[in-house]
């Protein structure tokens, strides 16, 4: 019944690395060509994991390219990290067919918190982005309904920022 995707039955540990390394090397070569200067850095961390760092402007283009051309059909996670001088959005994207996960880090300067929303590409990102907005205050342009998801609507503070101290009050 596995007609649609050309799923290859998983074999032992050894064969897995030869099978996969080809795909990652291809990624490492082709992505900088198609994205250009915005993709500041890309490296193969280990077999099955490629990490990249990309500027905020071209995240939409990179996402669409990854999903359509390279089969990264599943968005696992969007985490928002507060590095005190800047925010950073870490996208974890996974391709089932090629057993590969990609980690894309997108720095977001503190003064301009606008980022393009990838919900139009992966619908799974909808609630991840709402939670990033709710916890850190990063605004996603083009998001269907950007509201607070976990905290009540009338709350003003963004809890996961480093400057928000864990108050002891009631």
């Amino acid at each position: 019944m596995e007609s649609s995707s050309n799923r290859v039955e998983p074999v032992g540990k050894k064969e897995l690395s030869q099978l996969v390394s080809g795909f990652e090397r291809k990624l490492e070569r082709e992505l900088p060509l198609s994205i250009g200067p915005d993709l500041t850095e890309i490296a193969v961390k280990r077999e099955g994991l490629v990490s990249a760092r990309c500027n905020k402007e071209s995240i939409l283009k990179l996402a669409r390219l990854l999903r359509d051309k390279y089969g990264f059909e599943h968005l696992s996670l969007i985490s928002a990290v507060d590095w005190r001088d800047r925010f950073e959005l870490v996208y974890h994207v996974r391709s089932y067919a090629n057993y590969c996960m990609m980690e894309i880090k997108v720095p977001v300067p503190k003064d301009d918190l606008e980022v393009y929303s990838v919900t139009s590409i992966w619908k799974g990102a909808n609630w991840h982005e709402r939670e990033a907005y709710d916890m850190m205050g990063i605004v996603f342009k083009g998001h269907p309904d950007l509201r607070r998801i976990l905290l009540p609507e009338d709350v003003k503070y963004f809890p996961l920022r480093k400057d928000f101290q864990l108050a002891e009050e009631d």
Binding site: L75, Y96, G124, W127, M135, P159, L160
Partner: protein, 360 residues
């Protein structure tokens, strides 16, 4: 009848836990659905940043209380990856066995809640009765019924108690006989099929795009299981089948979970045979190096993931938790459209909601 917003929750027997499903109803058919969560938000990720690595262990049990060992183990595995720690072989086998025991207990909890939703009180009580056996086994291992804190950074808290293998094998044999009894109660009953076949259909492409994972995805004709795709611990040395069904509806998810329970029994038997002797724990340093690490685990509800950033101190700089239910709930709307109000129970029951991990 005019369009009407119906509010199901937060206190509602259908919701296993606290969340509010607002559905717009035209007569009896659902035209729009908007899940509302956050009633159990405890700000866990903020608390994580103020506790040391060892203190966070017991907290991760409370992430999803239905399958607390998988989250505890995921946290320890992620920290070990960050520290670059190699844990003893016996500890890995014990962890895999405990994960599968926890998977059966979690699926039985789902079966109990699902039967109670559809009005089959006998199913609730039988599933809870059989779940007690596995809770006793895990209690023998860790001392507590629900939140174990059994996995520690660098291995497992303690070795198996004396003649644990005998009890475990006896429990698994007993359970496989009892599983047939459960199946007669559900597969045989025409009414259960009337309530679940063809209800809550979620196609394969839409499920993957929405980020749905776990039994809900495997029920939609996708043979995707992290234990096979990205084997962690010793899953690549165990042969088991990935349960998959092609109907994409509540019935398929029910069948997937029942076969997964059978597979877990097989895995437990293999772990008990192949478990080597040796130490179960390694000394761990207090401070973790700076850098980041990802842990991905097949939770009974889907793909559980943790993204950990260490900054060289003994406290994590940032620990992000990816909860499978957080995403499956966002896909609830596409499962609900077009079905009747009475079907909401069957559909929401079939994705095994657990609010602990969704609200964090």
């Amino acid at each position: 009848m005019a369009e009407m917003w119906i509010n199901m929750g937060p206190q509602h027997p259908m919701t296993h836990g606290l969340w509010n499903l607002r559905i717009k109803v035209d007569g009896e058919v659902i035209t729009d659905a908007m899940p509302e969560i956050g009633y159990l938000h405890r700000g866990m990720e903020k608390i994580f940043e103020n506790k040391t690595y060892v203190q966070i262990g017991p907290l991760t049990d409370r992430l999803c209380y239905g399958s607390s060992f998988t989250w505890n183990h995921l946290y320890c595995m992620t920290v070990e990856k960050l520290m670059g720690l190699e844990i003893p072989e016996r500890a890995k086998w014990i962890r895999v066995m405990a994960i599968e025991l926890q998977r059966i207990a979690s699926h039985l909890m789902w079966l109990a809640a699902y039967a109670a939703d559809l009005g089959l009180l006998t199913g609730f009580v039988w599933a809870m009765r059989d779940r007690e056996i596995f809770l006793d086994l895990l209690q023998a291992l860790s001392g507590s019924r629900l939140t174990y804190n059994y996995a520690r950074i660098g291995g497992v808290a303690a070795d198996l108690p004396p003649d644990f293998e005998r009890d475990c094998l006896r429990a698994v044999d007993y359970f496989e006989r009892k599983l047939k009894e459960h199946e007669n109660l559900y597969n045989g009953s025409k009414i259960f099929k009337m309530r679940t076949v063809g209800i809550g259909i979620l196609k394969r492409e839409e499920a993957i795009n929405l980020g749905v994972t776990g039994p809900t995805l495997r029920g939609s004709n996708a043979k995707i299981d992290i234990r096979k795709d990205q084997p962690y611990e010793v899953y690549d040395e165990i042969d088991f089948e990935v349960a998959c069904h092609t109907d994409c509806d509540c019935w398929a998810r029910y069948i997937v979970r029942m076969t997964e329970m059978k597979e877990s029994c097989k895995i437990i038997r293999q772990t008990l045979q192949k478990m080597p002797k040796g130490p179960v724990r390694v000394k761990t340093p207090m401070l973790a190096p700076s850098g980041d690490a990802i842990g991905v685990v097949e939770d009974p509800r889907g793909e559980g993931m943790m993204y950990l950033i260490g900054d060289g101190t003994d406290r994590p700089y940032r620990l992000k938790v990816r909860s499978p239910l957080f995403v499956t709930l966002s896909a609830a709307k596409s499962m609900l459209l077009g079905y009747k109000v009475a079907d909401v129970v069957a559909i929401m029951g079939s994705i095994d909601v657990c609010m602990g991990e969704t609200d964090r």
